[in-house]
Amino acid sequence: MSFEAFAADWPLVPALAFQAINGFASASTLFLVAAGLSIIFGVTRIVNMAHGSFYMLGLYVAVTLAPLVPGPLGYWGAVLAAALVMGLLGALVEITVLRRIYRAPELYQLLATFALLLVINDAALYFWGPEDILGPRAPGLTGSVALLGRRLPEYDILLALIGPIVLTVLHIVLTRTRFGRLIRAATQDREMVAVLGINEALLFTAVFALGAAIAGFGGALQMAREPANLLIDLGVLGDAFVVVVVGGMGSIRGAYLAAVLVAQVKALCTALGIIEIAGISFNMSKLTLVAEFLVMAVVLILRPHGLFGRPIPPAHHRGSVEAPLRPLTTTGKFSFIVIILGLAALPFLGAAFSYAPVLALDVLIAALFAASLHFLMGPGGLASFGHAASFGLGAYGTAFAATSLGLDTITAFAFGIAVAALGAALLGSVAVRLEGVYFAMLTLAFAQIVWSVVYQWEDVTGGSNGLFGLWPDPPFDSRTGLYLAALAVTVAGVMLLRYLAFSPFGYGLRAARDSAMRAEASGIPVARLRWLAFIVAGTLGGAAGGLFAFAKGSISPEAISVGRSIDGLVMVLLGGVQSLAGPLLGAGTLTVLQDTVMRETDYWRALLGGLILLVVFAFPGGIAGGLALLARRGAGR
């Protein structure tokens, strides 16, 4: 049988093979980012949130340099130069920022590197502007090869080969060279490496530079495939996190295997296109993100540390232990009531404060969002980098129910909360199997997936435009009515969280955070308690999202992007994670800052990044911690 006849009988086969090669090309790109991320984490124990930024900058540098010299020399010279520049930038970043946070608590490290991401993104905006920049095509590789009746770009074939080549080179470096042995030794015990007379500061810088250079190389190679733009840092970071979690943190082999697995599953979905099962047609190419999630869920359920991962050895230093939580004193209760009454009186103060209720509504929503995240982070001990997912599910659930389903305001709000709770129950069942940075990475990846689904599922979510025309029914249709309702919901939510923290459930949760081992040995169902906490946090985060949808009258993907998650984290840290009042203070401070200072500039990301670095370096206890310290000093005198 001729191939043509075969292809005619089995139209899927060539499509699958074609997509498979494509998948290997994408896998190489993913691997180049994930490998650096993994090596850096192994040695420094820092999850570099800014790793996608090196990838993005690599691409920008390459598209800028390549046109300077014509021909292959210009193209490949630019790729290598981009890798080199990123290596140097990586070294600079390690020396100026990372060295100061090696001994900081995990969460601060994650946030500090995220601040870098924000600053780098705005720097790119400053240098290259907001428009996409197209790069040249690779000279000599612009053609395509005929394969199974299709045309396969030569450049994709080259990319597909680069992954395994880099994998092999890295493997040789790690096993055969002194530098590689040092990396392996430091991955296990960096302190001992210094004890043997090795300059570990230099080693850390070199490792960080290496990782950044590989990411920059990966970004530069994309020059012929996609334009440089400001969104790819976060886009590639989410994917790289999935790859690293699936492959196992610190394993290079695992990273490649996982990259292939993830890329191939996506390619498979694309190749299948629209299929019909039992009369219902599914557009598989729109399910790629769901497929990615499923791959990750299955791997993590079977192997909690990923395909080749091992449990992360505990760090040799620990953050300070929290002081026991105490119920509010009479003074505390009194102040709480006064603050609520003051907030309730705000709309009636007249024209002099006409803007105040608008700002206060934003603060309330932020406070509920931050308090719900704090419940997970503080008593739960689980820092979610994807709390925007709950916010988004609540907001979209509410908006969908109110507009498309035509439900009344209260029912729509309840519907939104239920969607958020269900989503949290589903995502939480996978996420609570992990701890620490794995949990942070996984939740961030989840939120990216929720965002992408919202972005792509136009029939339900309105795609990039979002849902609008959301009008609450009376009595919530007035500013005052909506504001008072939001106040009631927020106060109820915050009180519920506080109450839970002091309930037996809260005790069990805090116990599991302090020592999961002791908790298990005392018969505490650690995973179940964490799952419930995840649902509680998700439900109230969803309530904040529902309020947001009504407050703005619309909801768009931008409002539920990763920036929302980070805002929540910054609020909690700004206020102080060790206190139940902290997130409320933080929410107030950040929201007011955003509504005043940050509104005035195009470079609010850099400003936010600077604020985060300031908190991390100068005020690690947050506002509440600072106040408590002042109070103690005052009492001591």
């Binding site: 002081a323 005790y507 040995a521 169902p525």
Partner: protein, 250 residues
């Protein structure tokens, strides 16, 4: 009848036989020490009994019930209390809250939401603290305790499940000589009054020979001796493999 009966446990890791047909038992009120060189299989054996790892073959029975392969949490609810080599307590809670939490877990009351936990099982928590001589420290944060007190708090928490068997992994590691002897005397008291069976591993020979009722010795995954401290100390096989010519005297 013995509280814990271990029957022909075997476990291997990639070709290395960590445990090879080990059997022993502990009765109520008895302190049994498990000793042996590093890598002899002590931790493997210990972690199989507490549910941390699974045996390749063999049985673990608790009061006659087969509990082979049960999770650490289930073992706790079946009446096994544990203390860790590096004492583990809930540092951000007060001493009383630590014990209350352990009691709430043991009674399956952790999912209660109706009343603040601080008021629940308070008297019982204080009774346990009284037993371990920690009552005076009830309101202190656990993270601020001296190490000897942390050990005693951990003991109070282990007792919260009303265990029949207490598993102690190197109970006196990291303690001074006097503290060690005081802790073991307390454990012995508790074992006698509550009819507890105690299985512990230990490197400190003064603790083993001063406090154990019976000693078992593991070497290369096999049980090579089982007897009173005097019998084990006199055993030439044990001297060759573990104690040496000076009989482990310190």
């Amino acid at each position: 009848m013995s509280v814990l009966a271990v029957e022909a446990l075997s476990k291997s890791y990639g070709g290395v036989q960590a445990l090879d047909g080990v059997s022993f038992s502990v009765s109520a009120g008895e302190l049994l020490a498990l000793i042996g060189p590093n890598g002899a299989g002590k931790s493997t054996c210990f972690n199989i009994v507490n549910g941390q790892i699974r045996a390749d073959s063999g049985r673990v029975r608790l009061n006659g019930r087969d509990v082979t392969g049960a999770s650490p949490r289930r073992m706790a609810l079946e009446g096994v209390g544990r203390s860790f080599q590096v004492a583990q307590v809930f540092g951000s809670m007060t001493v009383r809250e630590n014990v209350q939490t352990a009691l709430l877990a043991a009674r399956h009351r952790l999912l209660g939401f109706l009343r603040p936990a601080a008021t629940l099982l308070r008297a019982e928590a204080e009774a346990l603290l009284e037993q371990t001589r920690m009552a005076a420290r009830a309101d202190e944060p656990a993270a601020a305790l001296a190490y000897g007190d942390v050990k005693r708090l951990e003991l109070a928490m282990a007792l919260a499940t009303a265990p029949r068997l207490l598993l102690m992994d190197e109970p006196t590691a990291g303690m001074g000589v006097e503290e060690r002897l005081a802790l073991m005397a307390l454990v012995r008291d508790l074992a006698r009054t509550n009819g507890l069976a105690v299985l512990f591993t230990e490197h400190s020979m003064d603790v083993v020979f001063g406090h154990a009722d019976r000693v078992i010795v593991l070497a290369r995954g096999r049980l090579i001796a089982d007897g009173t401290p005097q019998q084990v100390r006199a055993d030439p096989k044990v001297a060759d493999i573990y104690l040496g010519r000076r009989g482990g005297a310190e």
